[in-house]
Structure formats: C-alpha cells, structure tokens
Symmetry: C2
Subunit: 190 residues, 2 copies
C-alpha cells in the first residue's frame, strides 16, 4: 500500500524527528504543533499521530535523537573517566540543536507535569555513565565507601548547565578540570 | 491631568509588574505581549511603552520584582553564612512565581541575545552575597589564598538549579549541608 512519505522506509521516523527539531528551532515551543511538524516533514497530521500521541512524546523523542551516547569510559582512573564524560557533555551543550531544545523543555516542563516526568526520565538515563564510573571507583577504593554517586553526579554536571542557561557565560577550557579538582576527593584526582 | 490608572500613584509600576507576572504565569512567554500586559493592568499599551521599551526590559523588571534580597550574613563562619544564603535561595526556587519566570527566561534567552545579556547581569547581581562571604572567609584565612570565589559560587548554587529545572527532583532538606560539606574545604566546614 502506498502511504504518505512518513510510512515509507526506515528513515521516516528520523525525518519526522528532524522536522520536529527544525520547527522548534525556527518557531520555539509556541509554534511546536503536530500540524507544523507534519507540514515540515511532508506528512499528514494523522500519520504523525499514528506514531506519537501528542507534542510531549514527540518532543522527548526529538530530544533523545540529539543525544549521541558514547561508550562509558573505563580508564582505571576516576578523574580521567569523569573528564571524558564531561568533555563530551560540554560539546553537546555548546552545539545546536541540543541547548535550544533543552531550554524549550525547561520552560515546557514548568507548565506540564507529564513533560517534566518524561524529562526526568531522560535526565536519569543520561546520568548513567557518570554513576557507573563513580560506583566503579568506589568499588576499587578510589572513593571512600560513604561517597554518594548521586550527589557527586549533581555536583559534577550542574555547573555546566548553570553557565549555559543561568549565567550565560562561556565554559572556559579549564572548567572541567577545575570542577573535578574541587568535587572529587584529593585521593582520586592527585 | 487625569491619566489612565497606571500614571496615577506610586503603585502603578508595581501594578504593571504584577500584571506582567500574571500574564506570564497564565499564558507563558508565547502570550507575553505589551498588549496583554496592558490589558491585564488596566492601562493603555502606549502607557506601558512609556515606561518600558519592549517585552525584554519589562520581563527583566518583573523578574527582579520577584527577588527579595536579604542582608548578606556575617556570622564569622563561612559554612553558616553559605547555609543561610542557600536556604533563602531554595525557598525562592520552590515558590511561585520565581521558578516559572526563570524557566521562561531560560528559553527566551536562547532566542534573544539582549535578554541573555540582561539575565547575565541579573545573575551577576544575585551572586554578590555569596561572593562577599567567600571573599571575607578567604581574608580571614578560612579559605586558602588560591580559593576561587567565582568557581565556588558556581559549585554551591548550580545543584539547586539543576534539581529544579533539569532533573525535576525535589530538593531534600539535607542537600544544602551536603553540598557545603562537599564543596567547601574541610577547614571551613568542620
């Protein structure tokens, strides 16, 4: 059966997600409707609805598509593992479309508890690599037994969000190392 | 001369700022126009324009109006000073209308460099109390001479923004003390 472009081929889903990002970038959240995404993707609104129940789930999937996960490092040294993860994260935060999408999300989540819950899940998944390297470091004695990986993950990542979205200041090249030096116990970053 | 309500009395400015917050709360940034604020404040659009050149400066002033500054503490002990400042900040972050306004701002600043610059200024002013207590602690030897108050201020405040806007998790009552214990050197929080 010959459907509209979206139902043909494996790239259809990617095309809609790309269209969603383009709409968001051009018109902001205010212009982010199923209709606008359908128009941009060259698909019918009904077709988009067949894959996504509304703008919330579509936004989350589009956001997920901007995130390129990379292998969790395992260099045997905590500070090096953390520096690799944070370095990749800074790159993500400095390049379109991720920051604009995240900013739109922050605003939308204030108004919509479903979106907030979806974003909380997404954040939880993105914290995983850091939680893993911190737990490994604790297991091999590089962190004290009472170190709290959740708190350390908050402390290690939040300064970069803060710079970008609250202080609107550039991230200096030394910031990753400075944050690591201040947050991780001296034993693990000598 | 009998003008519209806004030009009468000292409360006029406050009334417009309150109206601006109400519009933002009800309609989000998408509905935040000079016209909508004028309607809500019971003033003419021309009258609002006489006081503010556009939605950007009006947003900033409305945001400023939600912020109740309090005296910079000077207890003689850095950890106590910082705990007081962060405690007040958590209260601000947990109560309307500040968080919703800030979320709208984060999104708007991505699209508008003027707003980003205005928000950067506002953030700089709000960092002052922490920078002051950190500099005092350094002067009296409670922090090492090479401690960087700017970096410490980033590390001390950003976890609370992160929790609220990125992770969408509540701030547990112990978080202020946990952050202080991890970020400030042991000498200053024993």
């Amino acid at each position: 059966m010959a459907g509209p472009p979206i139902s043909r081929g494996a790239g259809a889903r990617q095309r809609v997600l790309r269209a969603a990002l383009e709409v968001l970038d051009a018109d902001g959240l205010a212009g982010f409707t199923m209709e606008a995404v359908a128009r941009r993707a060259g698909a019918s609104k009904a077709t988009i609805y067949r894959h996504w129940s509304g703008t919330g789930p579509l936004l989350i999937d589009a956001m997920d598509a901007t995130f390129r996960p990379f292998p969790t490092p395992d260099t045997g040294r905590l500070a090096t593992d953390v520096a690799q993860i944070l370095g990749a994260f800074v790159t993500l935060l400095e390049n379109a479309p991720f920051p604009r999408l995240l900013a739109a999300f922050i605003d939308a989540a204030e108004r919509d508890p479903t979106l907030a819950a979806l974003h909380a899940d997404l954040t939880r998944r993105r914290r995983e690599p850091l939680l893993v390297v911190l737990a490994r470091a604790r297991d091999r004695g590089e962190l004290p037994p009472d170190a709290d990986p959740e708190l350390l993950t908050d402390l290690l990542t939040s300064p970069f969000f803060y710079r970008r979205f609250i202080a609107h200041r550039p991230v200096p090249p030394t910031l990753v190392d400075d944050v690591i030096a201040r947050v991780l116990p001296p034993a693990s970053n000598g």
